[in-house]
């Protein structure tokens, strides 16, 4: 920058209020949409929003929903999601969303209002120690106490949110800082002083990994949300690598779509409600390549029985994810896309031949497991099976060929969605994996729809979860967002009921969804369309009607009340101790107290 322009920009900057500096910094960081809710402490920002057109503000009905909407926006676009809430209750309401984004590694910048600097610590009206409360709820947070720090902090927040392992960042903004004049400066071109995550993998580790993979007799690729976070190119590289090697590939819940569900080398999702073939392949493999997954307890089952005979390669951008739960043989620190590119190159360059006959035998074994058809169900009689409802929803959306994005709430319906809805591309699947936040799906779908106005955005929900953020139907109406809420209504908090049935002697303590609203009338009262389907014969027509309607819809699908989600690895059990269906429920009786303490 020349001396002349530097002076000019400084002079221009000093005419801006702190609020204007914040908006300018957001714009310079590529923000087009901000999800928020006003309040006293952030009025200066709302005033500045009123006077500009570059950034669109979406008014949610609850601050938690603002964060989930930003998560949906971020996850479906690869951009940083942006949130604006007021001090005190605005900030505390956002905390659930922040922790959700932290556990699922979603890049979010959340601006929170704060009482003026001279009142901090005085128990002022709507004061909360936001940086204190959100410290363990965020990747990083800031309290801006000096106007000259403002622009730098906003730029840094975006850098921190999206680099390395992405996550939520909070910027707490006292009201005087927003009102006072503040200088603007562009994002620094120099490296961050202390935070410089490693993205390029170490060549020696890649070489060790290739040596193991080339010699593998029973390999498996286990890919997670890190591949999605690394961008669509990483998913393409994953596909190339899996095709090149001929290995089977499984995805975690967060990784669905990273590898196409249509591909014959895809063995389905793994973990507690994963497929038989994926879990047994994990259990029996001799070389495991984990890319961008974190050996979560939902995936590993009992740790000391997890994949006992395998050499493990773990590529992760976060070194603290490596050797956290499961000791690995070849750790690789790096971005999933770069690791995959390096693996592909090294695989080609390596002269060692693969053990093809062993791989063929391994596939024969996997196909045998596949033959069990662990996701089979029988749709018969006059009651809709929840699995069937998801399967038909998937088949009909595919047949229509529209760009489709799916979000979910949390519980049985979430697992059925993961099992029966196929994803061919990354960024099409939004779910609360790590935190398991009921109420995530509707606001997330809202954020997705804002980013993709012409796409079909469906929240696969349960009747209990949907009520946790049902107020967002108002946001759908205000912005004419044609989100479809597809409720699998079994009149139970189904996953709680399932665990009570299997582990707590069928004592259904507080898990019945009593006094449910009439979802059709509820939809109508929010200016949306309501549909109720109770007969399997009407299911397809109901789904088609929901999709065809140009505005928001709640489709309330009455499904079997006592259906359980299978297959299932009971808590404290190993991958090879899966329960395939109701006929094996007795197998759960063996769950020890040690197993029961696990969530």
């Amino acid at each position: 920058m020349s001396a002349a322009t530097k002076t000019a920009s400084t002079e221009a900057a000093l005419t801006m209020s702190g609020a204007e500096v914040v908006l300018r910094a957001l714009k310079d960081n590529g923000v087009e949409v901000i999800f928020g809710y006003p309040g006293g402490a952030v009025l200066p920002i709302y005033d500045a929003i009123f006077q500009q057109n570059a950034i669109r503000h979406i008014l949610v009905r609850h601050e938690q929903a603002a964060v989930h909407a930003a998560e949906g926006y971020a996850r479906s676009t690869g951009k940083v999601g942006c949130v604006l809430v007021t001090s005190g209750p605005g900030a505390t309401n956002a905390v659930t969303g922040l922790v959700d984004a932290l556990l699922d590694s979603i890049p979010i910048v959340c601006l929170t209002g704060q009482v003026p600097t001279h009142l901090i610590g005085n128990d002022a009206f709507q004061e909360a120690d936001t940086t204190g409360i959100t410290r363990p709820a965020t990747k990083h947070n800031y309290l801006v106490k000096k106007s000259e720090d403002l622009a730098r902090v906003v730029h840094e927040a975006f850098y921190v949110a999206k680099s390395g392992r992405p996550g939520p960042v909070v910027i707490d903004l006292p009201k005087d800082i927003l009102i006072n004049k503040a200088p603007y400066s562009e994002a620094p071109k120099t490296e961050h002083r202390s935070y410089r995550p490693q993205t390029q993998p170490d060549g020696e580790q890649i070489r060790k990994a290739i040596a193991l993979l080339k010699g593998a007799k029973k390999p498996i690729v286990y890919a997670g949300g890190g591949v999605i976070n690394a961008g669509p190119e990483a998913s393409r590289l994953l596909t190339d690598f899996v095709h090149m090697t001929g290995f089977p590939c499984t995805n975690t819940l967060m990784g669905l779509g990273a590898f196409s569900s249509d591909d014959k080398q895809f063995v389905g999702m793994l973990g507690m409600h994963g497929t038989y073939e994926a879990n047994l392949a994990m259990h029996g493999c001799d070389v495991m390549l984990n890319i961008g997954a974190r050996f979560d307890d939902r995936v590993t089952g009992r740790l000391n029985a997890f994949s006992p005979g395998s050499k493990k390669i773990h590529a992760d951008i976060d070194p603290s994810s490596i050797n956290k739960n499961v000791p690995v043989d070849v750790p690789i620190v790096g971005d999933a896309g770069r690791v995959l590119a390096a693996l592909i190159e090294a695989w080609k360059a390596d002269g060692q031949a693969q053990d093809k006959p062993a791989l063929t035998a391994w596939w024969r074994q996997i196909d045998e497991w596949r033959g069990i058809d662990c996701l089979r169900y029988r749709q018969e009689g006059k009651i809709i099976k929840p699995q069937h409802a998801v399967k038909r929803l998937y088949e009909i959306t595919r047949e229509l060929g529209r760009e489709t994005f799916i979000s979910t709430e949390v519980g049985q319906h979430q697992m059925w969605a993961a099992q029966y809805f196929g994803f061919q591309k990354p960024n099409r699947w939004m779910t609360s994996g790590g935190l398991g936040t009921m109420g995530y799906g509707l606001p997330a779908a809202m954020g997705v729809q804002i980013a993709h106005p012409d796409a079909l955005c469906i929240d696969i929900a349960g009747e209990a979860s949907i009520l946790m953020n049902i107020q967002e139907m108002g946001t759908l109406a205000q912005y004419r967002l044609p989100v479809k809420v597809f409720i699998l209504n079994n009149e139970y908090m189904g996953m709680v009921r399932q665990w009570q049935e299997l582990l707590h002697g069928g004592r259904y303590s507080e898990s019945y969804s009593a006094a449910l609203p009439d979802f059709v009338k509820l939809a109508e009262s929010f200016h949306a369309k309501g549909i109720r389907v109770t007969d399997p014969a009407d299911l397809d027509a109901g789904i088609r009607e929901m999709i065809a309607y140009p505005g928001p819809v709640i489709a309330d699908i009455a499904v079997a009340k006592d259906e359980n989600c299978f297959p299932m690895i009971p808590s404290g059990a190993a991958h090879n101790e899966m329960i395939l269906g109701p006929e094996q429920e007795g197998g759960v009786a063996g769950v020890t107290d040690e197993g029961k303490v696990l969530v």
Partner: protein, 172 residues
């Protein structure tokens, strides 16, 4: 898990951090939130501008836990450098203690004799009390305090360990 994997070890970890508001809370919150032990923790600015602080934390755990602690510390945004002094070679550990002993007559003489043997300095004296200043490793201070207890140990203030690698090798 094998016995070797379950074996606990102590670790003295030096952490260079950006000297900004909340950084100590981040480090301490990490230990409490993830259930790690803190045996002692010290912090002070160490560079000429006062922008960098050095935290010395003494902790213990299995090898896997200590590796986790270091990785978790290292990914905090304001952390520049994490160094496991225990693992990286010979290092010096020192702690400063101020020890107040109250007593009269023969007890005073005994306290002075022992202080001399332990190279503790008298930094305050009244006709019925001494404050000793002592530098050393934790064991030495523990031993001195134990000897003072029957004589009239009244109060102890300790800094916790600070540590640095021997030789020309630095962690910056």
């Amino acid at each position: 898990m094998s016995e070797a994997e379950n074996a606990q070890r102590a670790a003295t970890i030096a952490v260079l951090v950006e000297n900004e508001a909340g950084v100590l809370a981040r480090v301490i919150g990490l230990f409490s939130g993830r259930g790690y032990n803190i045996d002692s923790l010290t912090v002070a600015p160490v560079d000429e501008t006062g922008r960098i602080s050095r935290i010395t934390v003494v902790t213990s755990g299995t090898e896997m836990v200590i590796e986790q602690i270091k990785a978790q510390l290292d990914r905090l945004v304001p952390v520049h450098k994490v160094s496991d002094l225990t693992l990286e070679g010979p290092h010096l550990t020192r702690e400063l203690a101020l020890i107040k002993v109250v007593g009269k007559g023969e007890h005073r003489m005994e306290a002075l004799r022992l202080a001399d043997a332990f190279r503790a300095r008298v930094v305050d004296a009244t006709i019925e009390s001494f404050v000793f200043e002592m530098t050393g490793n934790a064991d030495k201070i523990d031993a001195f305090c134990a000897l003072m207890r029957p004589i009239g140990l009244a109060e102890v203030s300790r800094t916790g360990a600070v540590a640095i690698a021997r030789g020309p090798r630095g962690i910056n």
